[in-house]
Each structure stands twice: as structure tokens, then as C-alpha cells.
């Protein structure tokens, strides 16, 4: 007997939302508009946290002091993403990396760019943990994490 296919109905749900950055992240992203990367300095342990935090997660101290940190740092860890899946904010290939900026004590998650990403074997030879990188800014600032285009290797 011929197998009859049942109907499949295509539909789409959209969920628009607006996230409030709050006091701390507003200050952090306002810094981006002036090409500044700000960190929060804990009054107790003295650590500088990037991105900014309203309190120190180690000391549970409230933080009010903001300090500007360097636009350069070292790669702590990285991963090349080639596989594209639905809902990605960034089109592959890209490198997501944890970057420890000079003058800060935390790892900042961002992209590594400015290099050829087409060949993974070549990327493995180019990108290394401990490598120095530097922020590259988008000319247009929106007070958004992507105001920093990516971090590129320091020549």
C-alpha cells in the first residue's frame, strides 16, 4: 500500500525582548563609546574585574570604583568555530577566546580576528595561548559588546 504522508505545518514564534544593562553595565558600555575598557576594582581583594561587576564574587564586597584597563592582553584559551547552527549571533568561522587584559584579573570573552581563519591547521600555527592581542574597535559605537570588533595579534 502506498504510504500517505501526513501534513506538516510550518510556523514561527518570535520573542522580542529588551534587557536592561543596569547601573554597572551601562557604565561599562558607555566606556566603549569612548574606546575605553573599564573594570571594577574590589576594595577588599584589589582585583580588577572585566567586564564590570557590581560586587566582587569572591569577597561579596560592593564595588563602586571603576578603573580603565589596557586594550592589550594575553590569550588564556581559544576555540575556532566553523560549524554554523541556527541562532548564532556571529557567522563562522570565528575564534572565541578568553583574554586577560593587562591591569585586570579576570578573563574577558571576545573574538580573535584580523587573521585568516579559512584553514584550521594554519590557525593552530598562528594562534597560541599566551599570545598578545590588542582590541580593534568598530568606527561606529553603539554601547554594545561588539563595539570592539575583535582582538588582533600584536605584531
Amino acid at each position: 500500500m502506498e504510504k500517505k504522508e501526513n501534513y506538516v505545518i510550518m510556523d514561527e514564534v518570535t520573542i522580542p525582548y529588551e534587557l536592561a544593562y543596569g547601573r554597572t553595565w551601562t557604565q561599562f558600555f558607555d566606556g566603549f563609546r569612548e574606546e575605553k575598557i573599564l573594570g571594577s576594582k574590589c576594595p577588599k581583594c584589589g582585583r580588577v574585574l572585566v567586564p564590570m561587576r557590581s560586587f566582587c564574587p569572591r569577597c561579596f564586597e560592593e564595588i563602586s570604583q571603576a578603573v580603565e584597563v589596557s586594550q592589550e592582553g594575553i590569550i588564556i584559551s581559544w576555540a575556532l568555530t566553523e560549524y554554523e547552527y541556527f541562532g548564532m549571533p556571529t557567522k563562522p568561522p570565528f575564534i572565541g577566546a578568553l583574554i586577560k587584559l593587562d591591569g585586570s584579573d579576570t578573563n574577558f570573552l571576545h573574538l580573535i580576528g584580523g587573521i585568516d581563519l579559512s584553514n584550521p591547521e594554519q590557525v593552530r600555527k598562528t594562534v597560541k595561548n599566551g599570545m598578545r592581542v590588542k582590541a580593534v574597535w568598530n568606527p561606529e559605537k553603539k554601547g554594545h559588546i561588539m563595539d570592539i570588533k575583535y582582538f588582533e595579534p600584536v605584531k
Binding site: I9, M10, D11, V13, P16, L19, Y21, R23, T26
Partner: protein, 145 residues
């Protein structure tokens, strides 16, 4: 008033598909031919439209298919003239529960045509779209007789 803090705006998209299953598939295929089908319960005798695979009253499987009338009476209706998020259509429209003749449940669809004298209990008749896709809106709306 301007906002005290910055915000981040985004839209989440969730495209999806769902299987209509054999019962609804047969119902939609009926619509494609300009016919409205129901399933008849062998216990209570109710004809359910749109067709169901089981009778929610008697909890028995339904396998008897009957074509039902394209006319019925309005049981309840509501006109929507405001836009709101997630509204399943545009502009002003009128939805109604319609009891098709000789059926045992109310059928949810749109009302159209001249609605100036429409009221609960009014007789209405299905108006079909020229092009049929095997979709609930192959019936354009029900209009007052």
C-alpha cells in the same frame, strides 16, 4: 522620559514545524476539496468538527467520517480591533464559535461579509477561497445569510 540605564534589544526567532497527524490531515484534505469533515462518536453520536481522533466525552476512538453542513449558527463572537503582540492576523477581524448544523461541538473561525446585523444565533454560511491549500483558512470566513 529617557531611560536611566542602557538596554539591549533583540528578537528571538523560533521557527518550527509540527505534524498535523492523520486525523487533521484528512480534515485539511477535505478543506482542499471545499468540504468540511467531522468524526462521529459511536457512543454519544456527536459529530466533532474539526475532526478528532477520540471523543473527549466518551473516551472512545472515532473512525466514522461524515461531511457536515457548511451552514450553522453563531454561538459566540468577538471583534478584535486593537493590535497586540502575537495577534494571529492583521487589522480588525471577528472570530466566532459556530455550531454547524447537525454537529455536536462549536467550530472556531472568522466572520466576514456584512456584519452590521450579526448577533448570537445568526445563521452563517462558509465562504471559500478560490485557491485551496489544505489549510484552515481555505474557508475565508463565515458570512451571515
Amino acid at each position: 522620559m529617557s531611560k536611566e540605564f542602557s538596554t539591549f534589544k533583540k528578537v528571538i526567532r523560533l521557527p518550527h514545524k509540527y505534524g498535523a497527524g492523520p486525523t487533521f490531515t484528512r480534515f485539511y484534505e477535505g478543506l482542499k476539496q471545499g468540504k468540511i469533515y467531522g468524526t462521529k462518536c459511536p457512543e454519544c453520536g456527536d459529530v466533532l468538527v474539526p475532526s478528532r481522533s477520540m471523543c473527549p466525552k466518551c473516551h472512545v476512538n472515532l473512525s466514522e467520517w461524515v461531511e457536515v453542513s457548511q451552514e450553522g449558527v453563531i454561538v459566540s463572537w468577538a471583534q478584535t480591533d486593537k493590535d497586540f503582540f502575537g495577534k494571529p492576523g492583521q487589522g480588525t477581524y471577528t472570530v466566532a464559535l459556530i455550531r454547524l448544523d447537525a454537529t455536536g461541538c462549536d467550530f472556531l473561525h472568522l466572520l466576514g461579509g456584512n456584519l452590521s446585523k450579526v448577533k448570537t444565533g445568526s445563521r452563517v454560511k462558509a465562504v471559500w477561497n478560490e485557491e485551496k491549500k489544505g489549510h484552515m483558512l481555505d474557508i475565508k470566513y463565515f458570512e451571515p445569510k
